[in-house]
């Protein structure tokens, strides 16, 4: 089975205890599938109902497919300014 690296930042990185996580990736996996995997891990209680995810530096919808070469990041609530 392939894996994909998910980048974590700020409060999410603290909660999961790591700046990146390796998640299993099957053919046809979507953003929602990755979130389902994340929810099984320690620290996942910080995730809101619909966490924001970026694929290749753009916000992605839950049904967007993800592939091995994609840059995946979980985006905590932003607080710039």
């Amino acid at each position: 089975m392939s894996t994909v690296t998910v980048q974590l930042f700020a409060s999410y990185a603290e909660s999961f205890g790591a700046p990146t996580l390796q998640l299993p990736l099957q053919s046809g996996s979507t953003v929602a599938d990755l979130i389902d995997h994340l929810r099984l891990l320690p620290g996942a209680s910080i995730l809101p109902e619909s966490p924001r995810v970026a694929v290749n530096r753009k916000f992605a919808s839950a049904d967007q497919p993800v592939g091995v070469g994609d840059e995946i990041a979980l985006i905590p609530p932003v607080a710039g300014g």
Binding site: F9, A10, E14, F59, P76, V78, G80
Partner: protein, 146 residues
């Protein structure tokens, strides 16, 4: 000049204004966000800004392109600082120039509001009692970070 950047040095709003000043403009609007000494009634000592830098810069560039297009602004600069900032320091500066004041002012407002919605930047507030917390604008009950 249209540009956006994350920076790790102090932001100099006057220098940004000077860099786009032109006799063709009748209005230069500046928005500067600064580090306030209280947050929800707690005394703040500093704020640590962090970012998903590559995406944050891409989003900032997209926002300034939208702002310039929407308001007909031909000079627009945004700088957002990352790192530990002391009280009163400038965390973000937006400078927009136009022949007339309304587009210049509306453009700076648009840019800061969009930054707050969609640029992946986070801030951890440090308090004078030694505690710290991640700021979560979507939730009034905050994550305790230590």
């Amino acid at each position: 000049m249209i540009r956006a950047a994350l920076v790790t040095r102090a932001i100099d709003p006057a220098a940004l204004i000077a860099s786009i000043a032109s006799t063709g403009y009748g209005a230069i609007s500046l928005f500067a966000g600064t580090v306030r000494d209280t947050s929800d009634g707690r005394a703040v000592s500093a704020i640590d800004y962090s970012a998903y830098a590559s995406m944050a810069e891409a989003e900032l560039e997209q926002i300034v392109a939208e702002g310039a297009d929407r308001f007909g602004v031909t000079s627009l600069i945004v700088e957002h600082r990352i790192g530990v900032l002391s009280l009163g320091e400038t965390s973000v500066a937006i400078v927009a120039a136009h022949a007339h004041r309304a587009p210049a002012m509306d453009c700076t407002r648009y840019v800061i509001e969009e930054i707050k919605k969609r640029v992946p930047i986070w801030k951890m507030e440090h308090y004078i009692d030694g505690t710290r917390e991640w700021v979560d604008p979507t939730n009034s009950s905050r994550v305790t970070a230590g």
